[in-house]
Symmetry: C2
Subunit: 356 residues, 2 copies
DNA sequence: GTTAGCACTCAATCAAGGTGAGTGCTAACT
DNA sequence: AGTTAGCACTCACCTTGATTGAGTGCTAAC
């Protein structure tokens, strides 16, 4: 016995209904609500077949049927194939996501916010990452006697800054001179490379050994740990309204996942070059995500770095909606970061980008 | 009838027991577990009095008694008076809170983490704020053609940065010259003040009207919205293990509060100059916090700015522990920020501070 | 003033029975 | 051969009622 067209249509109806209600679906419901022109008995036979084929599960004998992960997989694959769903939410996303902010973090926060309100699920947005950033400019700004702010502008537009301290006093002009020297020597290099050549540079620049040692220490630390990236999350509380989270155990699971940002990031992060990933239930291989689906998309920056945006929800997720919204958001982030200044947002207050 | 010493001791026992078990406390429990040398009947009489005095509530007639907000208030006041509890957790806090980080945000994140693990409640840490920061130094760092990073170093050590764009090309040296001029003119001023005099400065500096307009726009925006401060939160998932959060409704309340960081901040933020605040249940005046207590403490920076750290938990909170931990943490943050560089953490890798 | 004793209350627990949604199977129908 | 009506069966869920036990308030004796 194989999957024929009628079986598929019935399966689809079951999935649709289950996504809507979160209740096991009975044969009578399908026969009546989705008029297939078939009696419940016939549906019943087909459902029995579908169960045998592994597309349906039965919580217990006198309950309706529930779609299996395999069913969702089929459903989603079919959705993606026909590809009609894209861009349905394009405009709504544009309307809510202004991207009008100066800091990268604000932007991804806002993106997560929009994603979660539009989908009603948990949204995660990871900042761009990828190949190591290349130094463009180093600037030392006097803060107080004996301390300076190090600003490193990289090609990704991400600015890393910290205060270092040194002995003695250096004038603003001296610091500028050192900055220029450092920029000269180090621009075009990645952070680890810069760290390597720093001693040599230090010799050449000469008499500020102390300051350069501090700088070196800072770079070294950064190399090891990296700045832990800011992971934006939205919609946690919204998830709790879903019936699947009336179970405390699951809520706790979800919450501790959300709290462990780095773990969350590693779960969501998408490798490879596909535009989309849909991982349904156990496909993710993550034990506590058995009942969740993870849909991710990517966006990219002008410098070729890649970021991930993702939505986590129950397996009975509104896949069409989620995929459509993610797709639009991915596109818009790509647009937003697709410009030379790297940092986001129209610094001037022009409104062009929305229509470009 | 008034509160006498015996009544007080009984009340204390009830509170202690309720804090421990979260179950209504019966007369027999008090008589046996806390040997008062009194029979349950006597305790019962006293409890009846205590109820009449408003210190105890009875969920229903055949249940034990539960301390009222008034009881906790008395209990806490008494704790604070005797003041013996301070510094009990000093060492543990020191051990877990290294404060070893370059970014302010990392530090307050870590502080929230430590607070929540040590108390098992929800911890909130607000960055220092207070009088408006005064500009010390302005620096424009070239990022790409037509765009520059604005770094403003303020006396609070907090660095605000953003990329602005302008027409045309300016060399690194030109930008430096402008930076110097701006620093000259604007240092010592607050942001709003700077915004006011900027047009004038613009005239004097001359031919870079476009850039200065961008800068002015940026400052104006900042003035309005301010950079939304980073509010660190820790221990959300830990709260769910408490029996009072087996109710979904409450969990949702808590969660949406945690998600609305600004609201959370306004709840926790402590005004006035007291070292401590303990708000018990309805005292906070916040409807959804009726069953919660909020304990806050402050820390301050060398520049006189003040930050708040707080713990939110059920009214039957372990007040002693919480107060002690908050106290130690506040002290340590004050120490940490009590130095000229404002930005935190030993930039060098010396270990001195832990013993200073 | 303290305590033992007793009647009383009431949430919580559990078993028993009823209900209804849903199934699987069979036999009749097209 | 596919479809459908009918029927027996299953089982989660709800209701009901009885039981239990923690806890109280009151009274009378110490």
């Amino acid at each position: 016995m194989a999957m024929d067209d009628r079986k598929f249509r019935i399966l689809q109806a079951i999935i649709d209904d289950y996504i809507l209600t979160a209740e096991p679906v009975g044969s009578r419901t399908i026969s009546k609500k989705y008029d297939m022109g078939l009696s419940s008995a016939t549906i019943r036979n087909e459902m029995s077949d579908l169960e045998e084929l592994g597309y349906l599960d039965q919580p217990h004998v006198s309950a309706g049927r529930v779609p299996s992960a395999k069913a969702y997989r089929l459903y989603v694959d079919q959705l993606l194939e026909q590809g009609t769903l894209r861009n349905l939410d394009e405009e709504t996303v544009r309307a809510h996501f202004t991207g009008r902010a100066h800091q990268m973090e604000d932007i991804i926060d806002q993106a997560a916010q929009v994603l979660s309100t539009m989908t009603n699920y948990l949204a995660v947005v990871l900042p761009p990452s990828g190949r190591p950033p290349v130094i463009r400019n180093i600037q030392l700004v006097p803060v107080a006697t004996g301390s300076a702010l190090v600003v490193i502008v990289t090609d990704t537009g991400i600015v890393r800054d910290t205060v270092i301290r040194y002995n003695g006093q250096l004038s603003s002009d001296t610091l500028y001179a050192i900055s220029q020297a450092l920029t000269q020597e180090l621009s075009g290099k990645t952070l680890p490379e810069a760290l390597e050549v720093l001693p040599e540079v230090s010799r050449r620049v000469g008499d500020n050994a102390d300051l350069l040692r501090s700088l070196s220490g800072f770079l070294g630390e950064r190399k090891e740990k990296g700045r832990k990236p800011h992971v934006a999350v939205g919609g946690t509380s919204r998830m709790l309204t879903l019936p699947e989270y009336s179970d405390m155990e699951r809520v706790r699971n979800l919450l501790s996942l959300v709290e462990a940002r780095d773990r969350l990031a590693s779960i969501v992060r998408q490798n490879g070059n596909v535009q989309f990933t849909v991982r349904i239930g156990p496909e993710s291989g993550i034990p506590e995500m058995e009942n969740c689906s993870i849909v991710t998309a990517t966006y990219s920056t002008y410098s070729g770095q890649q970021g991930t945006i993702g939505v986590i929800g129950p397996t009975r997720m509104q896949y069409q909606k989620v995929i459509s919204v993610l797709s639009s958001m991915g596109q818009q982030l790509t647009e937003l970061f697709g410009h030379e200044d790297g940092h986001a947002g129209p610094g001037d207050s022009s409104d062009e980008r929305r229509h470009s």
